[in-house]
């Protein structure tokens, strides 16, 4: 009897049949190809509806741009996903099983959602290398940090990321002394060190030169597939360079969705952008 159960279990773990599959608690389940679901999310601050029944689904490996006028609720949406703000109503799921509305900020970060803020926040007193070291995916408990020693493998990984974000020559400089664009890149590097499944990037090219902007677009395109990315941005040239699906937010809900050309041709979108 028991051996039969064991046999069945092994069968299941080997290969899923149809929609049936084994679930492990706390692990990201992407079996339906969707990494993030937001359903009917509403958030209000003192009567002001920052988000109004927002619906959004992001596919695994997708690169999605979110655009919209100021106050459309883009940053609030990111706050809900990362656990900084609790929605008044609605559901937010990471994969099929992880309920984001019930998880704390560090838990959400551990589950695999990384966030880049509008204003670059790096640890100014620490070097670029140390910034990446702290962000690295590893045991982040107190004891682990007390006894932590960098292995060769981890050192190489940090070096590789520094190269990727073009800061390899600035490894030992305090992050506070980097240029604005470099700080943005460092923060992106910190996100990558966490090996997130989903990256949320809030105006990642703000304050960057055109050249830096285009290089950032290249980096993001190369990340898509391996990671899923949600990019909030005003810079249309940048959005065009990314080339993914575009979602337009307005007054806390989705106004239009599609590729950039379709969205730009939508009369409602033109109304929102030009009517003001």
């Amino acid at each position: 009897m028991n051996t039969l159960v064991e046999e069945r279990k092994q069968e299941w773990e080997g290969e899923t049949q149809g929609l049936a599959h084994m679930l492990k608690p706390g692990e990201l389940d992407l079996s339906h190809g969707v990494i993030l679901y937001l359903e009917d999310i509403s958030v209000s601050f003192d009567g002001f509806k920052a988000l109004n029944k927002l619906n959004l689904a992001i596919n695994t490996g997708e690169l999605r741009c979110i655009i919209g006028p100021n106050g459309a609720g883009k940053t609030t949406m990111m706050d809900v996903i990362t656990g900084k703000t609790r929605p008044d109503s609605g559901t937010a799921f990471f994969g099929q099983t992880l309920d984001l509305t019930r998880m704390s900020e560090p838990q959400i970060a551990h589950a695999g959602i990384g966030r880049k803020f509008q204003k670059p926040t790096v640890f100014e007193q620490l070097s670029a290398f140390e910034n990446l070291e702290l962000a690295m995916k590893t045991d982040k408990g107190v004891w682990a940090s007390l006894l932590a020693r960098l292995s060769r493998e981890q050192g190489d990984k940090i070096a590789a990321t520094l190269e990727r974000i073009r800061l390899d020559k600035e490894a030992d400089r305090p992050a506070g002394l980097l240029s604005h664009g470099q700080k943005q890149w460092l923060e992106i590097g910190m996100l990558l060190m966490q090996e997130p499944r989903l990256l949320l990037l809030d105006e990642p090219v703000a304050g960057m030169t055109d050249d830096e902007t285009m290089r950032t677009a290249e980096l993001f395109v190369s990340l898509a597939g391996q990671h899923s990315l949600v990019v909030v941005e005003h810079d249309m040239a940048f959005v065009e360079a990314l080339g993914g699906k575009v979602t337009v937010l307005c007054e806390g809900s989705v106004l239009a969705e599609g590729d950039l050309a379709t969205v730009q041709a939508d009369p409602r979108v033109i109304e929102v952008y030009l009517g003001r």
Binding site: T82, K84, S104, E105, P106, A109, H110, G114, R115, F117, T121, V122, F123, E124, Q125, L126, F129, E130, E133, L134, A135, K137, K140, G141, V142, S145, L146, L147, A148, R149, L150, S151, R152, Q154, G155, D156, I158, A159, A160, L162, E163, D168, K169, A171, D172, M190, Q194
Partner: protein, 382 residues
């Protein structure tokens, strides 16, 4: 090519603990520490015990008690620097932990008086005076040195843990945290002032006779306590240097500079803050336990809000976020205090206030920062 130019800290395999510890201080710092220990463990005992009092080289009992006391304060200042300079959390209640350690050890010293008190009773004098017939439950076992040594560590740790857990979990920060710690030490002071609390009321504990069977006022005992304090201070400096150079120290600095960022990369600041907070409180407790036998008295005045503020001033004057800074600050301010309170007692508080304003306005990095600036200027013109 670029990865080769990268000067990453050598990620070696296994390095012996002794080597790892050796690398946490610079060569110059190790030498200074060695000189400090040689002076306090060899030179001072010899000059106090063997050189006759008439000699110009004799170190007086007054000097030993004064320096021993200031070393205890320096230990508190280092503990304060760990939480304030490195953790960015300003506590204005560290006097409480110092006093708790002092009171815990004072209980042992009170029991050590035995029947030599004014009333010739087994009970401490103040209990006889209050007409108590037996020891309160929390005095049980305080005649054992081992148990009291445990209390010295455990009581400040427990108080700090419970208070810190609720404060940090509720994300109380900045000036609010400082004010609450100030209220905490004030409340404790009022509690300890009451005779019913069982700690001698406003007189506290005094008239100690012996420690571990040795006469507490004997020159040899004084020298041993002095040396022990120096050892503890040195060990704390080395341990703290290791701590702030570890990844734990870097996470702590990151929490100080951008706490929400730390949370978004997956650290829970609660554990880190609580760890450094409890460690800081325990160090203060140890300092208090070393202070009481040397100074010979502990009373609720140690918990007064002004005392805790003074601790912050030592650290600010010496220089935050450098470990030697608080030691320099504690010595500078306290030596100035012992001179002022003899020469111009009424002006001491004015001077202290002035010092604080000058340091805040012109020396944000304290004396250590000033020294570095002078060195940099000298290097620049040369």
């Amino acid at each position: 090519m670029s990865s080769a130019t990268l000067s990453a800290p050598a990620p070696a395999g296994r390095v012996p603990v002794t080597l790892r510890l050796a690398s946490c201080l610079e060569r110059k710092a190790w030498i200074s520490l060695g000189v400090f220990l040689a002076l306090s463990l060899v030179a001072v005992p010899v000059l106090h015990l063997l050189v006759p009092p008439e000699s110009a080289f004799h170190v007086s009992a007054y000097a030993i008690t004064l320096i021993g006391k200031i070393m205890c304060y320096a230990l508190v200042a280092v503990a304060m620097d760990l939480i304030w300079g490195y953790g960015g959390i300003l506590s204005l209640g560290h006097g409480l932990f110092f006093a708790l350690g002092g009171y815990a050890f004072g209980m042992y010293l009170m029991r050590g008086i035995g029947r030599d008190g004014s009333y010739g009773s087994d009970l401490p004098d103040f209990m006889v005076f209050l007409d108590w017939k037996e020891l309160p439950w929390f005095w049980l076992g305080t005649d054992s040195f081992g148990w009291v040594a445990l209390l010295v560590l455990a009581v400040p740790a427990l108080v700090a843990f419970v208070f810190g857990y609720f404060a940090f979990r509720s994300r109380i920060k900045g000036v609010y945290f400082s004010i609450i710690t100030q209220a905490l030490t004030y409340a404790a002071m009022l509690l300890f002032f009451r005779n019913e609390t069982g700690f001698g009321g406003n007189n506290g504990f005094t008239d100690f006779k012996r420690i571990l069977g040795y006469d507490i006022t004997a020159p040899a005992t004084r020298v041993v306590l002095f040396g022990l304090t120096a050892l503890v201070l040195a060990a704390t400096l080395v341990g703290s240097a290791w701590l702030v150079k570890s990844k734990f120290g870097r996470v702590l600095a990151a929490i100080r500079d951008a706490e929400s960022r730390v949370m978004f990369i997956g650290y829970n600041p609660l554990g880190y803050k609580l760890a450094i907070w409890v460690l800081s409180a325990v160090l203060c407790g140890i300092a208090g336990a070393l202070y009481v036998p040397q100074v010979g008295i502990i009373n609720p005045g140690e918990m007064s809000p002004a005392n805790s503020i003074e601790i912050a001033i030592w650290v600010a004057v010496g220089g935050r976020a450098s470990l030697i800074g608080p030691v320099i600050g504690a010595f500078t301010v306290n030596l100035a205090k012992s001179w002022f309170t003899v020469s111009f007692p009424e002006y001491w508080l004015f001077f202290l206030g002035l010092l604080f304003i000058v340091v805040t306005l012109y020396l944000p990095q304290g004396l250590v920062g000033l020294w570095k600036q002078l060195l940099a200027r000298k290097g620049g013109t040369a």
